[in-house]
Amino acid sequence: MGTIAKTTRRRLLVGAGGAGLAGAFLSACGGGSTTDGSGSLADGGGTTQVASEEAKQGGVFHVPRLTEPPDFDPTLSYNSTIHRAVGLVYNRLLKWNWGPETAPSSTDIVPDLVESFEQPDETTTVFTFRNNVSWQNRPPVNGRAFGASDVKATFDRILSPELKSQLAGRFAGELASLEASDDRTVVTKLTQPYAEFLHSLAFHFYWIVPRELIETDQLKSNPVGTGPFIMERWDKGQKIVFQRNPTYWKQGKPHLDGVEYLLIRDNAATLSSFASGQVDSISDVDAENLTAIKAQIRGAQVQEFATWVTRRLQVTPTRPPLNDPRVRLAILKMVDQQQVNDLVSRGGSFVGPLPHQWGDYGLPEDQARQLLKVDLAEAKKLLDAAGYDYEQTLEMSWNQGYGKWYESAALILQQQLEKGGVKTRITSYPQAEYLARWRPPFDKNQLTPAPLTGNSPELLYTAYNPRGEYYFQPVDDQRLLDMIERQRRILDTEERAKYVIDIQRYLLTENIIDIPLGLPALAEVVQPKVRNYFFHLTFGAPYLEDASFA
């Protein structure tokens, strides 16, 4: 595995979508694991069963959407409805790879608008952009060439203090400057080495927009990008219609004539729409619905995958009785993650804080199983040593917005803790009430999903650092904060991976804040006629540029 520190002093040239060169870019970036796509759900590889063949031109792909965006400005908020809507229109500088041999959860980084980059030192990166990219032929951009000034305008907007963009968080205190040195070159300077820099640029929120849309204040209403599809119209409350971009810079793509996002607010109606052939794909299908779909639709193509979002029980380390680390360790030793996987997830993966499916940075499964082994006798000893009052009731809660899984998991968890002599009361609240009652950090025991950071150690920063975007539980542990800060500065991938695993061991032995409850399995299902559908968890479905019909 290469490292950024070792490789970035030489110039890397990456071809336009060439697999070999892209692979070289990957190893240069050290951007995560490469999965072969043939593994089972249990090892996180995902199963690719969508037929792959030479693409035919034509057809309109229909995608169901439960929600619609408020607008199309991707530079201000993490609102997923916006980023899901604009992913066909815009490109990023770098992107996560997808393809027939790539797992849907992979965050292998490959170039998008960037052609090459070099890092003359640890804090400077010189990006050179492709010279064949033009904006879609729509006003106010009218097909002009994409250039460095667009990148600068985009990041100036994201980092503008007046706009208070949520997207600024990842680069706050890290990015010292971003300057265009000529039409095809941008030079970034960091305040200090930042191991997540390239990963952050590839994250599915950082789309590059044309400067004219910013200058004329049209970002909300008129998305015009460099992407494979042009947004033709938005029938509010009904659908968003995209047409093939005839001047797309990737030769021969996209293969589809268009894509339509249909607003279907009801889950049962979404399933029915798939059964009737009205939509061509259906996302986030759980085991129960997958069985029904397979029974009803002959030839439906299923791509199973492990999500990025582990489930966990957060225990508050700041209030009695859980402010005693022995009590938290005892709780950890009562939780049977395998049982949760078997009974609730019906086939999820056994994971540590960062799942082993994520590659180098994930805690290996054998270590996770060893550290998360159920040991009621040891738990009792720990509780006794801590003088735990067995008559008290621990309050726990979960947010109903997270879905049915948490309801079932809460019941199982309650039984598991009861076996260890710990009484609990678990309460659920509607999503808005939950967020209205408590502002993060919540300072309460709760069942939650892990933050969505892609498969990167950045999760540690976003979850446990007070400046992190998903700082849900107060952490009063300077040693942990120092460790998390330090791993962000290690540019050597191997060294960083080793250190990140040490942090996870610390989080499962010395300062328990989250108890992992597994990584559930989901599936993406497409109609039998769909070909070359290389599903990926990235927002915006940019992989539809490869999709076609038989």
Partner: protein
């Protein structure tokens, strides 16, 4: 008559004022606001971002200040801006209203088309096996909730016929065929329970009328039984049915909230549901006001129709 109508229209003002106050208070009693609802989509905002958003939508003001602001805008005919979409509420309502009105109108017509013959036959053949079947159907109609029936219709069409009506809403003036395919199923679902109530009402009312002396007199004068029922019986039996029909409009509008979502029709009902989820106060208040106006106007029309159905009724 004109004075009566004017009085009724003037009564709209306090009714709508009361309604607006009620909705204003009730939606704010529900925990959470637009900002917390947005956090569900966008992750956590910093305290500074939360403050900025609340200030932008005046949610940092007291309820009294918010209400005064809302009412003063309303007095100028401005329903405000949707928090979520950032567009005028009036535009959003105008976009959703045609679909909802059309579904409500078709559902009403369908329910009348079902209820009048069924109720009449049931009353005329009281005690017969037809009566038993009609009454059983009416009980079923009232017992089956529209959200369940709607889901069953969608699932049945999709899984057994591999077909569903096209998503969305196309105006009948643009494409009548597509329009009818889109609205007929939600209208049937809403009409099903509506017709059940009307059927029972017509049956009971007609049974009462059939026992009246004037019905016996009509038959004694040589009118056939069928003519007596249709010309004299049914007309007199319709008064309570028409009264209930006015009240049923509110039921229809309420039912549209779920049924439109199930059938993916972009009407006011699904918009109302979305605005509740998003705590989009302005949008929800606007929609409820429109629902209120529709219900009040419908009841006024019902009152006026009494004079047409029964010439003995006079308004002063």
């Amino acid at each position: 008559m004109q004075r009566y109508i004017l009085n009724r229209l003037l009564l709209l003002i306090p009714s709508l004022l009361g309604l607006s106050l009620l909705v204003f208070i009730l939606i704010r009693l529900v925990p959470g606001d637009t900002v917390t609802a947005l956090m569900a989509e966008s992750g956590v905002f910093s305290d500074e971002q939360v403050a900025t958003l609340r200030a932008r939508w005046h949610l940092d003001e007291s309820y009294l200040q918010q209400y005064i602001r809302y009412m003063s805008d309303l007095a100028r005919g401005d329903l405000g801006q949707s928090f979520y979409y950032g567009t005028p509420v009036a535009d959003e309502i105008a976009r959703g209203l045609p679909a909802t009105l059309e579904i409500a109108a078709v559902a009403t017509l369908l329910s009348i088309a079902l209820a009048v013959p069924m109720g009449t036959i049931s009353a005329v053949r009281a005690g017969s096996w037809i009566d038993v079947i009609v009454r059983a159907l009416a009980v079923l109609g009232q017992a089956i909730p529209s959200f369940w029936l709607g889901t069953m219709v969608v699932v049945g069409l999709a899984f057994y016929l591999q077909w569903l009506p096209p998503k969305g809403y196309v105006s009948p003036f643009v494409d009548l065929r597509t329009n009818l395919t889109q609205i007929i199923f939600p209208a049937i679902v809403l009409a099903w329970s509506l017709s059940a109530v009307s059927t029972r009402l017509i049956r009971n009312s007609l049974l009462e009328v059939l026992r009246q002396d004037y019905m016996r007199t009509a038959v004694a004068k040589g009118i056939t039984g069928r003519a007596a029922v249709l010309r004299h019986g049914l007309r007199n039996a319709l008064l309570p049915v028409v009264t209930v029909a006015g009240a049923q409009l509110a039921f229809l509008l309420g039912g549209s909230v779920i049924v439109e979502s199930i059938f993916s029709v972009p009407g006011l009902g699904s918009l109302a549901l979305k605005s509740i989820e998003l705590r989009d106060y302005n949008l929800l208040q606007g929609i409820v006001l429109v629902f209120g106006v529709l219900a009040i106007v419908a009841n006024l029309l019902v009152d006026l129709s009494y004079a047409v159905i029964d010439p003995r009724i006079r308004y002063s």
